[in-house]
């Protein structure tokens, strides 16, 4: 993986000013890279800043500080027209709630075609519609569905429309913000398979934001663990799951219920509480464990982590 990263996030900060005295530091200095054709999973509890990160990257928010470089262009500050076009066409988002993210008054044809219309990326109406039909077929819907409205579809089908809408611009990176959380188990598997299949065909990169760890492990190549706006640990899926170092990562992993009754009945989850743990995220640095595995800690904390490395089940 010596390729150029497609997305470089450096020291991203996203603060929200609530009033004169109080500012929420939703994301507080995180850095990571995403390479073409890979899936980067972001996990963490609610309020850890994972959705905010995704939304800052695609510039639904104005980042407070830090750099975001996408396809070689800086998209964190004021953008040139060219950079803006690069961002708006080559990065797309799939939202969590398939019921809420589609305009109920538009036909599927126009929902999927909206991006094409805005960027005028076709020469004739036939070409536009042909592109849309192709997308529908790619995501497992049929041509006839184009003239229907969102309410005529089931949840899984709507999420497919959301995916088709993101894919029609032929993007390099898709941010999937809890894209499967609202779906049923059997439908989740269908959508995940679809996303993987598309990745194989188009070499697209995903930023996959979710709290369902078993699904994240399944779909991601690398994983970042967020807590309180800090990236506490990042590494390949195997490193995170087989050799977690940070106590927060450990507690997250211990909380996943396994579908295996004999194991599950005897297992207790670990507790982790930042204020009681004595850790200081502000003072910590990213320590390199292996080429891909990093953990946030001060020097003393790191020693402590390493000595407890094999404590987990």
């Amino acid at each position: 993986m010596n390729k150029e990263p497609i997305l470089v996030v450096k020291d991203l900060k996203q603060h929200f000013k609530v009033n004169r005295k109080f500012t929420v530091k939703a994301v507080d200095g995180i850095s990571f890279e995403i390479y073409p054709g890979e899936t980067y999973g972001l996990v963490g509890e609610s309020g850890s800043g994972k959705s905010t990160t995704g939304r800052s990257i695609i510039r639904l928010y104005e980042p407070t500080a830090g750099n975001i470089v996408f396809n070689g262009e800086d998209i964190s500050g004021k953008m040139s027209k060219k950079a803006l076009k690069n961002l708006r066409t080559n990065m797309q988002m799939i939202f969590q709630d398939p019921m809420a993210c589609l305009n109920p008054r538009k036909k599927v044809l126009d929902i999927i075609g909206e991006g094409l219309d805005i960027h005028k990326s076709y020469s004739s109406l036939e070409e536009r519609n042909e592109k849309i039909y192709e997308m529908l077929e790619l995501v497992g819907l049929s041509r006839e569905h184009a003239s229907r409205y969102p309410h005529q579809f089931s949840g899984g089908q709507r999420q497919r429309i959301g995916i088709a809408r993101a894919l029609v611009m032929n993007p390099d990176l898709i941010i999937a913000d809890e894209a499967i959380s609202a779906l049923d188990v059997s439908i989740q598997a269908q959508v995940v398979n679809l996303m993987k299949k598309i990745q194989k065909e188009t070499n697209i990169a995903y930023l996959f934001i979710a709290h369902d760890l078993s699904m994240v492990k399944y779909i991601s190549d690398r994983i970042g663990v967020l807590h309180l706006g800090h990236l506490v640990e990042t590494g390949t899926a195997e490193e995170i799951f087989n050799n977690p170092l940070h106590p927060y990562t450990k507690s997250l992993l211990s909380a996943i219920p396994h579908p295996n009754p004999q194991v599950e009945k005897t297992r207790k989850s670990l507790t982790y509480n930042y204020s009681e743990s004595g850790l200081d995220y502000e003072a910590g640095k990213q320590h390199k464990i292996t080429e891909t595995h990093y953990v946030l800690a001060t020097d003393d904390e790191l020693k402590d982590f390493l000595s407890h490395q094999n404590d987990m089940i």
């Binding site: 509890e45 598997a189 398979n193 760890l213 219920p257 396994h258 004999q262 599950e264 009945k265 989850s269």
Partner: protein, 362 residues
Amino acid sequence: MERERILKIRDLRISFKTDAGTVQAIRGVDFDLYQGETIAIVGESGSGKSVTTKAIMGILASNGQIDSGSIEYVWHDENTGERQERDIVKMSKDDIQKIIRGRKIAMVFQDPMTSLNPTMTIGKQIMEPMMYHYGKTKEEAYARAIELLQEVGITDAQKRMKNYPHQLSGGMRQRVVIAIALSCDPYVLICDEPTTALDVTIQAKILELIKELQVKKNISVIYITHDLGVVAKVADYVNVMYAGKIVEKGTIDDIFYDPRHPYTWGLLSSMPDLDTDDDELYTIPGSPPNLAHEVTGDAFAPRNQFALNIDLRVDPPMFDVPGSDSHQVASWLMHEKAPKVDMPESLKKRILKMKKEGLKNE
């Protein structure tokens, strides 16, 4: 110890009148609940798991009606110790409210933010049912409420009594809901997806809390969920529902280590465990049937790659699995004349691995 049956449901059928016609949401459900045990009802959305429990609580939506069947409660009167048996299908609404709901049976809903009243302090909300059902004075109820808050693991109970729901985090709110549910000492607790709205770390804590309270108070719990991981953690018995019917029931080991129904196979395979690295997840093709139309034969047949000819014509009855007194399956594949069909190879491997892990743990 003799298991005491406290809830008996027989041939329950429920339909809803909608603009699109009558929807047969529940098509003949039987199950029993015994003292101190936990059963889980598993299924996709629309399979009727919530409707079943709403019927048990007597809170069906106004366009729903129970067409047939019985829901019988058995309890011992708290003063005289006398054994009582009532069928709530035949009871009046007022009687259900006075005798059953809240008092004998309580429910924890999915989203704690919408099940708590945002305009009342949580203290008041915990005291309310005790004052209503048992006529406790304010002081008695207050003392008991503080005890309850401590029982569900909330520190600073006295201070918390004055808080409003929005001042608490999601996990805290769900703890408050559990405290309210337990305030009248019910003997059945229904948990309708109690952790879906919560984070994994908090989910584990809440499940452990419910389990701990269950043992302490010897109550029975019905879980409704689609998360098989949760089921594995909490349940003694599992009922798998599909399209308004129970298609497979058995002990937790029956369902996880020896599943027989193709739908259960699908459910178990479609969920990635932490070691799955196959290229593709197994999926159940198609989507659940629309129950507004009459279903002939087995409702799962159109999605079932193992479907037999008879599946399309006649609804399968419950077959007993040979050699087990708890395991039952509604599938023609279990009939003695049916061709022998084995579960998919990948699932077999996974079950073998799960059994090994289980042994290691003992």
